[in-house]
Symmetry: C2
Subunit: 472 residues, 2 copies
Amino acid sequence: MGAEPIRKLERNEPAIVTTVERLVERFGDRCQVGAAIREQHANTTTWLANLPPDAVVFAESAEEVSEVVRLCGDAGVPVIPFGAGTSLEGHVNAMAGGISIDLSRMNRVLAVHAEDLDCVIEPGVTRKQLNEYLRDQGLFFPIDPGADASLGGMAATRASGTNAVRYGTMKDAVLSLKAVMPDGRIIKTGSRAKKSSAGYDLTRLLVGSEGTLGIITELTLRLQGIPEAISAAVCPFETLEGACNAVIATIQSGIPVARIELLDELQVKASNAYSKLDMRETPTLLLEFHGSEAGVKEQAEMFGEIAAEFGGSDFQWARAAEDRNRLWQARHDAYWACVGLRPGSKALATDVCVPISRLAEAITESRRDLDESGLLAPIVGHVGDGNFHVSLLIDMDSADEISRAEQFMARVVERAIAMEGTCTGEHGVGHGKIKYLRKEHGDTVDFMAMIKQAIDPRGIMNPGKILPDDSF
Amino acid sequence: MGAEPIRKLERNEPAIVTTVERLVERFGDRCQVGAAIREQHANTTTWLANLPPDAVVFAESAEEVSEVVRLCGDAGVPVIPFGAGTSLEGHVNAMAGGISIDLSRMNRVLAVHAEDLDCVIEPGVTRKQLNEYLRDQGLFFPIDPGADASLGGMAATRASGTNAVRYGTMKDAVLSLKAVMPDGRIIKTGSRAKKSSAGYDLTRLLVGSEGTLGIITELTLRLQGIPEAISAAVCPFETLEGACNAVIATIQSGIPVARIELLDELQVKASNAYSKLDMRETPTLLLEFHGSEAGVKEQAEMFGEIAAEFGGSDFQWARAAEDRNRLWQARHDAYWACVGLRPGSKALATDVCVPISRLAEAITESRRDLDESGLLAPIVGHVGDGNFHVSLLIDMDSADEISRAEQFMARVVERAIAMEGTCTGEHGVGHGKIKYLRKEHGDTVDFMAMIKQAIDPRGIMNPGKILPDDSF
């Protein structure tokens, strides 16, 4: 009530102390203030410092989330939603202190409407949990960012991953949301209709808003039928450029690949060692085809012709579910495999996305740049979307290495933007990428800030994320 | 400049007079004030009265649009963007007078990036114009609302139509927009990357905002490759319910139909007469399959089995392009065919969308309701999405008939919302559907209004559309 907007990211110590006291009183054991738990709730896999919240409330309902938000709002204390802690750009850091709302206990599947290919879930449900739940009904949820993230968090960061080339991103998968807004009201942004023209698209506004406009407390998600046939393949290439050009041609031909993932030579080495595989150590595509038996065969043949043209050969097929799972597990473990290349280092993931025609250029320039910079860094990518990651293996005790890595990251982003791409394909802005937002969006950032200001005038919702200071 | 916000939809006569004078001085012949041209720019195919603007400016560039917006903004005079005038809910009515900005001369295709499956166009390009332009390159733009609408207008109303079941709506087709915002600034909402997590999704916020937040001056659109094989079919059913249930089963089976359209018995009669066809006069599905030769055959066979199960039979195939075109032209002329059933009447289109599992129920209840109400009204639908239209043929001189039709429309919407559907699948809110917005969205409407207020504090952008008065 009259609290100053949180713009300077300064701690309001007395307000925080009082608020934590009130929350402990209200939630008892479900409000934790221990250092370890607070640090875990500011988990970050970037070089951004861990900035823990002052308390963690384990919410069990939208009404409880609303209660915490109202209480914090009245005092001008930040609230930071927390799902599974797998975000990569410091999204859950408490820049000005405040309360982490842990949503992991809100993990019920509320309804599966198999006949409408949708489901209604709480935000703490993880993607693996959902897919296990759905399997018996012949359905699956396709968005797969690798980590077993919570679906609320995936919506909040507009996540995507390996299947996005065929099935889209969280922007496409979310039909409707319930969210607690900064004034504590609980809203519902849409219906279960497959399409609607009824007013502003607040579903898509909340997807990707990283907890800065509202806290997602329920999701209605589109599901897919498990395809009749699934077939995966490993396809090694002579050169990185050849692999990229095969991807470009595949997408341009309209082959509806379900997954088309790149591992560069270094990543293949790392994954062979970590995941006990025996892939040829050369730039490699991992693919998956979904469809009818005939359709999958047709797609695979079409891809085979393209691959041969660009120096790809020696396919290995994985048709059995366990072989496929082993392959994709290896892909998902790419991060840990990287770290294994240089024990003691931290793997810092960049994330850019370019128009598909620029993919080969963007990746080969990054590779050349890395080699010149003397940085050890495998490249992986959801290349069917033009999206790739460079995993920089950094000795976090070396200021020089960190500085070289930061400069490299800036160059990757600048090249992507110059190619009409984006500074983040799927990881989000957090505070790690705020500095690039205006470069990419120009004055558009001011309109984002107007929306933030209008909906969250006290600035309590995950302050210090997405929006640069100069936009207010 | 101190102008009062336009909330009460009252004309500010002196400001309008001065503004029109200044625009005539600045734009000469390209600022028209004649009654006929003004009325044409408030064209509406609903029963909503024609409320013409005070002048029409034919803009030729984003900079000119910006100039008009700044001038109007300073004076507190409304601006209403105009594309092709095919909207259905009074979107271009000048509720408080003001200036219509006609964008039809901004109709250049600026770039086609065939290798990235995208293009960059001005907002006045129509969908037919774009598809003619693209044909030689083996590409097409799938969103097809029937009318030859402008693509800027289609984005503004979040249009969809016959192909949406396979290719999505304008929400999915727009990669990025340029828009003139209420303060006259020109922003760009995204890049050409296929996906991005870089901040709030202003692309999706502007899509469907009906000119109330900004005026779209450039669109980057996703394109599709023209499929190797296309096959269309007409499939008559014994009953309306059978046809609907066949649609439900088709969608649930995951058959990737490109089009699946319902005409009820009355619409078939009307279309036979108007389009000189000889379809059996019974509830009928029109279908189109896209894919490889083998894929299309497979899809058609799968659909055939489903149709037979629900009383469908006697397929007629249209494989030649000219036969297909004739069929879809008839579908697109459904509106005119309706009017032909009752010369002198006006056809008023309702537009709701429900989860697919509720489709048969929603349509058969509407049919029963119509028959009980004694209203003459064919039903057509983009039924693969759960979206359908009732075309009420009304004698506009009969207050009683109008009143019965209005009551019917309200019931259709209420049933759709009760079935977890939406009050508009694709036509938008305009001012025709404002009264249903709160029923569908509850408090969410207040957050829409906060956004409107923040971005357009003077309320100059197409006032009186989308947002109910009680939301400010």
